[in-house]
Amino acid sequence: MDRIPILKLGAALLVTIQVDMHDRLAMALEEDLTNRIVEYGAKGVLIDISALEIVDSFIGRTLANIAMIAKVLDAVTVVVGMRPAVAITLVELGLSLPGVRTALNAERGMAMIRALLDDEAPTLADES
C-alpha cells in the first residue's frame, strides 16, 4: 500500500499530503506519524495540506486524532496551507478540528512550532 512520506527536520516531523487520500491511507498516516514521533522523540509535527482539494469529516477527524495523539506523546501539531474553499466548506460541514493548531503556510507553521517549543523548554536548542 502507498504511504505518505514523513520527513524529519530537527525536532519536528514534516508531512506534505500531495495525494487525494482514501481512508486507509489517512489511517496509515496516523499510525506512521505516531510511530515516528516516538522513534525520533519528535516535539513538533507540521502537516501541509495545501495540495488537498477537500477535507471531509474523515480526513478532518484523522487530523484531529493526530493532534491528540501527538499531544499525549508530548508533541505539538500544526496544520498548514488550508485552501480558502476548504476552510469555508469545513465550517459549513460543522467540523471544528478540536485541538488542531493551524497556520497559513509552512514557514509560519515552523515558526509556530519553534515558538511553542521555546516557551516549553528554553534549553531545547542546547539539546539538538
Binding site: 482514501h22 486507509r24 477537500i54 474523515f58 466548506t89 459549513e92 460541514l93
Partner: protein, 135 residues
Amino acid sequence: MRASVAANTVPIRSGEDVVRVRQEVRRVAIEAGLGLVDQTKIVTAASELARNTLDYGKGGEAVMEVVQSSARRGVRIVFQDQGPGIADIELALKDGYTSGKGMGLGLGGARRLCNEFAIESTPGKGTRVTIARWK
C-alpha cells in the same frame, strides 16, 4: 455545448472508489460551471455520502450529471445502495449521531453543503440519497 450530458455512474465498492467519486464529481461540477467554493462543497458532500454508501450501505453506486433547470445549471448526484437501510432518518441526520466509526457529521454535514437534499430509505432494502448544487 451539448444539449444534454449523459449521466456518469461510478461504482462504490472500496475506499479507492470514494476517491474516484470525488474526482468525477469535481469534473462534472467544473463542466456545470460551478465556482471553486461550490465545487469544493459538492465534492465534500459527495465524499461523505460515498463513504456512507460504502460503510453503511455495503457498497453501491453514485450517478452524477449536469442538470439544467430553467435558467439554472448545476450538478445532481444520486447515491444508491441495497444495504440495511436507515430506520430513523431524522436521527441519522442529527449532528453527532453515528452508528459506526464516523464523527456523525456525514449526513447532516452533506445536507448543509447542498442546495437540494433528499433521502429515501427502506429498512432491509437500501438507501437512496439525492443531492444537487446549483451554479
